[in-house]
């Protein structure tokens, strides 16, 4: 391996022997593609003319005024084709798969945004695609299940364990082990065995590169604080990474506190977890004293994951990034607030990042600039939110 795949002690490759060859091939293909002008050109072309990048950096004036503190900017990843940052990664990996001569994609999905992105990439490049999705998530993200199927991909329900994202990833990895010679595993977040955390981060870094340049253009300076939600952590690492050398920029990843950190029903991995191995990588985990992975909860399916990308564990360990938490209730309030004040319906995942901005903005004056990554749009969540309101209303 040319790259150790380590972020401090975190990362690595903890997978069955059968997959080592496939990971070596992927790493080799990626290292070659990274310096290949034709590949970079094809990727940039598809981002520009298909995804619709660059996405806007939007000054949320009404929200900022309402909170009466810091100036809030929104990086509008929700405006991407298919409605979330996931497409940046899916198209990059699918192009790599094509370059490697693989015709079949497998993917896991939680909220369904990555499933939609993978199915979209498969449709665009004429590939076969199988998406593994937890049964519980299929219920709460029914719209995305329809979208994935309409795009021509197969959705395989996963009933094992908690029937959510973690279990979908287990099943996708098992399917990959079985068909690793002709199948490409299109992993949706910056997690998993090396080289995935690096590969996904690089593909999502377009978010941070654009945001950095746009800030300089819009404000003549860098923002003071970056905020992004963290499930696996791909939108956050994509935003943070290009700012790592900018020491004045604070970075805050927001984890789901679910029904409260004092309950067992949360998915705040970095805040409450301990290091361990899941899905091929060494990183923080929510686990019991024997190393059994804990059941987790978040109102947002995309954050409902007991692990986290290894680079976030590293950034936490060296103190470069901070990690805060937001409850289901706070996220739902932010979902409503952004919708009413700005006319932007955020994904429930992204609503966690918005909620943290809402929480801290009043501590600052308008000179302070907070840049929030609005990682996806909330159309997929409208039905689930409406149902929650009905329950709340009795």
């Amino acid at each position: 391996m040319k790259d150790s795949g380590r972020f401090g002690i975190f990362g690595g490759r903890y997978v069955p022997e059968t997959l080592i060859q496939a990971l070596d091939e992927l790493e080799g293909a990626y290292l070659a593609a990274r310096v290949d002008e034709a590949f970079q050109h094809a990727y940039n072309e598809v981002l520009l003319n298909y995804v619709g990048r660059p996405t806007l950096l939007y000054r949320a004036e009404r929200l900022s005024a309402k909170l009466g503190g810091a100036t809030i900017l929104l990086k509008r990843e929700d405006l991407n084709h298919t409605g979330a940052h996931k497409i940046n990664n899916a198209l990059g990996q699918a192009l790599l798969a094509k370059r490697m001569g693989k015709k079949r994609l497998v993917a896991e999905t939680g909220a369904g945004q990555h499933g939609v992105a993978a199915a979209t990439a498969a449709a665009l490049f004429g590939m076969e695609c199988v998406v593994y999705m937890g049964e519980q998530d299929m219920g709460r993200q029914a719209l995305n299940v329809f979208r994935i199927r309409m795009l021509g991909a197969e959705v395989v329900p996963v009933c094992s364990g908690s029937a959510t994202l973690k279990d979908a990833a287990n099943e996708a990895i098992r399917a990959w082990v079985t068909n690793c010679r002709d199948t490409f595993y299109l992993l949706g977040s910056a997690v998993g065995p090396h080289p995935y955390p690096t590969l996904v981060r690089d593909l999502q870094s377009v978010i941070g590169k654009e945001a950095r340049a746009q800030s300089l253009q819009l404000l003549g300076r860098l923002p003071d604080i970056l905020i992004a939600c963290v499930g696996g952590g791909s939108n956050a690492i994509g935003l943070f990474h290009p700012f790592l050398a900018d020491e004045t920029v604070r970075m805050i990843g927001v984890e789901p506190a679910g029904k409260g950190l004092e309950t067992q029903e949360h998915a705040a991995t970095l805040t409450m977890g301990t290091p361990g191995i899941l899905h091929g990588t060494l990183s923080y985990l929510l686990q019991d004293e024997y190393g059994q992975i804990s059941p987790v909860h978040s109102v947002s399916a995309g954050l409902d994951y007991p692990g986290v990308g290894p680079e976030h564990s590293y950034l936490k360990s060296i103190g470069r990034a901070e990690y805060a938490t937001i409850t289901d209730e706070e996220a739902l309030a932010a979902f409503a607030l952004l919708t009413r004040t700005e006319g932007i319906i955020p994904a429930l995942e992204s609503a966690h990042a918005v909620a943290h901005a809402v929480k801290i903005a009043p501590q600052y004056d308008s000179e302070t600039v907070i840049l929030v990554n609005l990682s996806g749009r909330g159309d997929k969540d409208v039905q689930a939110v409406a149902k929650l309101r009905e329950v709340a209303a009795g």
Binding site: M1, G12, R13, Y14, V15, P16, E17, T18, L19, I20, Q21, A22, D24, S160, G161, K166, N170, I173, R174, V177, T178, N179, C180, R181, T274, P275, G276, I277, L278, H279, G280, L282, L285, Q287, E289, Y290, G291, Q292, I293
Partner: protein
């Protein structure tokens, strides 16, 4: 010398193939699990592989996943697995191999895990999600406690890696017959012959075939080609729906002895 190495050498000298039987510790509960281990030893298992149930066993197919779920539902912990081994070793000389996913080991502390496993009577550890390149810390810990860290070869393993893996191995080498997860198959992959032939160039250690060996016929074919046969899912599938513990033991015993007979007979048929 290690108890597992001794057993494998004895079998080799006698011109016999080894039957390695796998069960998840604590499935369906601790008491029945203890009885089943005795039955395996009494009916011809040369080595027993005992699995620590894990919540996310990504190398396992549906049968062993369900087995882990039952054991976890019965509240089985790593400490119970060690206790099972201690009790077993009081009565039997059959070498025990401990199968654990790496998070189980990492969480306990790699060095402490190995000390406790050795004290409980295990001879070796097999970790399905720990490839050779990541095994440095576990190798040191197993070496200093007299345990063996069993390595894997797969049909996808490159020959350059195969050489390194073989040369740093001990006990036996776990050769995965199929690209896939554990579980029964209707036929064995003919590619296993190629894998065994390549591995043989680099080692004289016993080569054990595992994953997907389901019937006495398949066991015979595998035994003819390799030095040892590992049967897990097929054994669990035989007993998972048998409710009565005594009946479970009878079924397990019958199945193990049929495998044993097939392996011994099969050696000649294919010679």
């Amino acid at each position: 010398m290690n108890k597992l190495e001794n057993r494998m050498n004895e079998l080799k000298r006698a011109g016999k193939k080894a039957l390695i039987a796998f069960l998840t510790a604590g499935d369906p509960n601790l008491a029945v699990s203890a009885k089943l281990l005795n039955v395996l030893a009494e009916n011809g298992a040369d080595v027993i592989e005992l699995g620590v149930p894990f919540s996310d066993p990504l190398a396992d197919g549906p049968v062993l996943q369900a087995s882990a779920v039952r054991a976890l539902a019965a509240g089985i912990t790593l400490d119970d697995v060690f206790l099972l081994a201690v009790r077993f070793c009081e009565k039997f000389a059959t070498p025990l191999v401990l199968l654990a996913y790496y998070n189980t080991i990492y969480r306990r502390g790699v060095e402490q895990f190995c000390r406790e496993a050795a004290e409980a009577g295990f001879s070796a550890i097999v970790v399905p999600d720990l490839p050779y390149e990541e095994a440095g810390r576990l190798d040191l810990a197993t070496a200093s406690t007299g345990l063996i860290n069993i390595r894997f070869l797969a049909p996808t393993t490159r020959e350059s890696r195969m050489e390194r893996i073989c040369k740093s191995s001990a006990g036996f080498i776990y050769c995965v017959t199929v690209t896939g997860v554990t579980g029964q198959r209707s036929s064995l992959d003919p590619g296993m012959q190629t894998l065994l032939a390549k591995a043989r160039k680099y080692t004289d250690l016993p080569l054990a075939l595992g994953f997907g060996i389901s019937t006495p016929e398949q066991a015979a074919t595998a035994a003819a080609a390799a030095d040892a046969v590992i049967v897990g899912s097929a054994l669990v599938a035989q007993i998972e729906n048998v409710k009565d513990p005594a009946e479970k033991c009878v079924v397990a015993g019958t199945f193990i002895s049929s495998l044993k007979r097939a392996i011994e007979g099969g050696t000649q048929e294919f010679a």
